[in-house]
């Protein structure tokens, strides 16, 4: 079946910020497939639409922001004839047009859902709920199991909500008031799909031993386990067997009168709030997130703190007033790497996993340090604690909450130290850096910025794909002049894992070429091996990217072979220098607070004083765009690997 892809050649002004215009689209020769490709212009945002009749256009859920690089989109199709057009907007997709709780930008760029339809797949569940639950918002057969209805013994309705903040097992109000319940060994969801289960009544059994619910997309890794679920006892049933049990008496719990229920622990507040790259607080960051990315640890002041932390205020329930809450912390099961890296003892001021206030208060902690976290439930049913974790990017931990005297955990909270990467586009503003020898419109500052922005984009995609928390900060995002000594402190102040400075080289000799990467020289460099490890990854990536477009791409060999051999590193093109931006002194590496060394290097992509190299990197040439994209994609993976591999 031959596919007729009719590309509309329309130039229609839809609004001030939205146009449909003629594009030269490359199409796929593959049967039953459409493969479109066009060059996205900077400052424009592209949406793909299709139509059978050229009148009723349907949004296809593809969008990209133009940055001068090629935008590709391919998909299978069974249509024999269909029209496609690209809608171009001049403003970024913001807001929430369909009111489903996802911003238009996230729908376009992250989730690929329909920004104009709250329920992209029409299965009755809004896109946001599907994203949170981890189901496919484009599949009407893949939807969250929000409600499980179980009839037992006759009219009991069991409701299950796929969120740890709201574990509820309750009886229907219409239930025969004379019945009573003890639940034994409830075992739900032995497969990835939640199943209906019948609960067998057992007289006199007072506790639920285990109740497992599994997230369908991660068999075991994200298994939520609650042991010893407390039961809400209706006040009129004070003589219930639950309370009469001798082995594990439970207090009478309020809040769910007239219903049976799991005892919920809800995280009321995480503080401080997380700030974005622009320094603005992220709305909702005070709430624990479900699934991945995990909740953030943050560093308020890396100078003094040198520890990642978060203060948790949770509600356990008024009936448990004065009961002791025990907190413990371990590496998250299934975490990569499978360890919490760094040592609490290395922190100058916060050497304990938990810190608590002597008296519970809504704000502030008296910081009574202790190695085991213990708090007491206040009259309000709330308690709070500060959790400390070594500030190594992608450290993932599971925080367990237990009630003294009750076996098993009451709840689990999973959190992560976000990866922090600082990208430094060299030069800027009136400082153009090097100038292209045979094309003086090519300036080092512009190339460095373009390559850096692409690297940021790839890093964000990479971290989102891997569902990690992250912060990617640019020292400059535009053509502004930046003080040289301000660049490295950005990484210091953010507690960054990695600092990468992007530059292009120049020499009077037009034959000079090759890629090289610099780290600070010893003895001032306190973590040269770590710097060199990062540098070697990026060096190989940049050479591979350039060689893919020009056979002359190569490592610019170091003069310091002894250093290479001494460090037993197969590093070609990695050199040492005393550049300001890679100095450990600027990162506070190696001082008394030598706890979280920043790994830093400066990449000289190629010599723009060499004609062949210039053509392989400049952005007016398709090869240059591919070099930029190739380097950025590979370097993003390098950086993620390096953060995960750091000790």
């Amino acid at each position: 079946m031959k596919i007729f892809v009719v590309l509309s050649f329309l130039l229609v002004s839809l609004s001030k910020s939205q146009t449909v215009e003629l594009l030269t689209l490359k199409t796929s020769p593959t049967p039953n497939a459409v493969d479109l490709e066009w060059v996205g212009q900077s400052g424009k945002f592209y949406y793909l639409q299709c139509s059978a009749d050229l009148e009723d256009w349907n949004f296809m859920g593809v969008v990209d922001a133009g940055d001068g690089s090629v935008i590709s989109y391919g998909f299978p199709t069974n249509f024999t004839s269909l029209n496609y057009r690209v809608v171009i907007r001049l403003t970024p997709p913001t807001g929430d047009a369909d009111g489903d709780g996802l911003t238009d930008e996230d729908e376009h760029f992250v989730h690929m859902t329909n920004a104009d339809d709250a329920d992209s797949d029409g299965d009755g569940v809004d896109d946001r709920e599907e994203v949170v639950a981890g189901t496919d918002p484009w599949s009407d057969t893949d939807r969250p199991f929000y409600v499980l209805e179980v009839t037992w013994p006759s009219d009991v309705v069991v409701e299950y909500f796929l969120t740890k903040e709201f574990w509820v097992l309750k009886a229907d109000e219409a239930t025969d008031p004379d019945w009573w319940i003890g639940l034994s060994q409830v075992d739900v969801a032995t497969t990835l799909d939640l199943q209906l289960k019948s609960f067998e009544p057992v007289d006199g059994v007072t506790t639920l031993n285990v109740l497992n619910f599994r997230d369908r997309e991660s068999a075991g890794a994200d298994q939520y386990t609650i042991n010893n679920i407390a039961l809400v006892i209706p006040s009129e049933r004070t003589a219930s067997p639950v309370e009469q049990a001798e082995n594990n008496p439970l207090p009478e719990l309020g809040g769910y009168a007239g219903k049976w229920g799991l005892y919920p622990v809800s995280v009321l507040e995480l503080s401080p709030k997380v700030k974005d790259e622009e320094g603005n607080e992220i709305a909702g960051s005070e709430k624990i997130v479900q699934g991945r990315p995990l909740g953030f640890f943050v560093e308020i002041d890396p100078h003094a703190n040198r520890i990642a932390h978060r203060e948790l205020k949770v509600k356990i329930g008024g009936p448990l007033e004065d009961r002791k809450v025990i907190w413990s912390l371990d590496v998250l099961p299934g975490a990569t790497p499978a360890t919490v890296r760094g040592e609490w003892e290395d922190s100058p001021t916060h050497k304990d996993r938990f810190e608590v206030s002597a008296v519970y208060g809504i704000s502030g902690f008296n910081r009574v340090s202790q190695t085991s976290g213990e708090t007491t439930v206040a009259e309000s049913g709330q308690t709070a604690i500060r959790v400390n974790v070594p500030p190594i990017g992608l450290n993932q931990v599971r925080i367990r909450i237990q009630i003294e005297g009750v076996a098993g955990e009451l709840d689990l909270i999973d959190m992560e130290v976000p990866a922090v990467v600082v990208i430094d586009p060299g030069h800027g503003g009136i400082d153009s850096g090097a100038v292209g020898r045979t094309d003086n419109s090519v300036l080092e500052k512009d190339l460095a910025l373009a390559y850096s922005l692409k690297l940021r984009e790839e890093l964000i995609d990479k971290f989102k794909d891997e569902r990690h928390g992250f912060l990617v900060k640019m020292t400059r995002e535009d053509d502004s002049t930046l003080k040289l000594s301000y660049r490295a402190p950005v990484a210091r102040d953010l507690g960054a894992d990695i600092f990468v400075s992007i530059h292009f080289n120049s020499a009077l000799s037009s034959s000079a070429r090759g890629s090289e990467t610099y780290v600070e020289r010893t003895p001032r460099n306190r973590n040269q091996a770590e710097d060199a490890g990062l540098a070697s990854l990026l060096q190989n990536s940049v050479v591979s990217a350039i060689q893919a477009e020009d056979v002359g791409g190569k490592h610019r060999l170091t003069f310091n072979h002894n250093w290479v051999l001494k460090n037993n590193l197969p590093i070609l093109g990695v050199k040492t220098a005393g550049f300001v931006v890679t100095k450990d002194g600027a990162f506070n590496n190696g001082n008394s607070t030598d706890f979280h060394p920043v790994r830093a290097c400066l990449v000289e992509i190629e010599f723009i004083s060499n004609d062949a190299a210039l053509n392989a990197v400049k952005l007016s040439d398709l090869r240059g765009i591919r070099s930029k994209d190739g380097f950025s994609q590979s370097a993003a993976q390098d950086i993620l690997n390096n953060i995960q591999d750091q000790e």
Partner: protein
């Protein structure tokens, strides 16, 4: 053959030291003449009172931010309950509790906002709104010596500003010298703070950052290579002028470059300051090498001829 090798060596050394060059724009900016509205004052001598001051010990000092904070586009003045979004970016480098891109005057009425080598001045109205005011502020070190750019002006008092300056090498990878300058707004005079008494390492210049000021403007808190240093420096007295401005009238009411006080091209006026020829240091080094190689060559040549 040997002659060819010498020539090649000479050539490579020339290439080595001529590998990088500043852009025309940068060269023009650094060699710009002193603007007509600006006068240069004598250096203000600074002397060390205490080294390695602990954080918090300088509590009696006013921070350079004046209590204002900022994000990449927002300014906050907590004491006045002001939180305003600006229509331009601000210096923001991540954690920013001290307000790296902004500085509020002691009277709380004037706010300096910095982005690289651009500076905006806003008047803080009683309503909490910010009104932009035209201002002349230099962003080039016009005084003697190597030229650099001036960044991040902040209020030391209601009429005196202080900023950091950075002199870079031609490659743009290293800082040759860090300096601090004071600008007396009414007289529009620029003076360098003379840190010779601090015995800073000239071969490996330390980072230098202004943190705060004493109310009577006779002491200043600096961060030198991460350590806090308390220094005595008379910022209040008007330093004696090195040179009178040639045309004060052109400075008053000047509009060009005033909106955000860009150093170029508005500051490119009138007479030339002590000029720094681009690449002079590298040319000097190349010259030394050239002489050395020629001497070696001649010696070898003599050996060939006369032995």
């Amino acid at each position: 053959m040997k002659l060819f090798a010498y020539i090649a060596l000479l050539g490579s050394s020339f290439f080595l030291f001529s590998a990088y060059g500043r852009s025309r724009e940068m060269i023009d900016a650094l060699n710009a003449p002193v603007p007509a509205w600006l006068s240069l004052g004598e250096p203000i001598r600074a002397e060390v009172i205490a080294r390695d001051v602990q954080r918090g010990d300088e509590i009696s000092f006013r921070p350079r931010s004046g209590g204002a904070t900022n994000s990449a586009t927002r300014v906050q003045i907590p004491d006045q309950s002001i939180d305003v979004e600006l229509d331009h970016r601000i210096d923001y480098f991540g954690k920013n509790e001290e307000g790296q891109g902004v500085s509020l005057s002691p009277d709380g009425k004037k706010l300096l906002v910095n982005l690289g080598t651009e500076t905006w001045l806003y008047e803080v109205a009683d309503s909490g709104r910010l009104h932009e005011v035209l201002i002349d502020i230099p962003h080039v070190t016009y005084d003697d010596g190597l030229k650099g750019l001036i960044f991040q002006w902040s209020w030391a008092s209601d009429g005196v500003m202080v900023a950091n300056a950075e002199v870079m090498d031609e490659k743009g990878h290293n800082v040759i010298e860090n300096r601090v300058y004071a600008f007396h707004q009414e007289r529009k005079s620029l003076s360098r703070l003379d840190f010779s008494a601090l015995n800073l390492d000239a071969n490996d210049p330390p980072s230098l950052k202004v943190l705060g000021f004493r109310a009577n403007l006779d002491e200043i808190v600096l961060e030198i290579d991460g350590k806090r240093v308390l220094a005595k420096a008379d910022l209040k007295s008007l330093p004696r002028l090195l040179e009178e401005p040639r045309d004060r009238r052109s400075a008053s009411g000047k509009v060009e470059g005033a909106k955000n006080s860009r150093p170029m091209p508005s500051e490119l006026k009138e007479h030339q300051s002590a000029s720094e020829k681009p690449g002079s240091l590298l040319w000097f080094i190349a010259g030394v090498i050239l002489v050395a190689i020629l001497a070696f060559f001649l010696k070898t040549w003599e050996g060939k001829v006369f032995s």
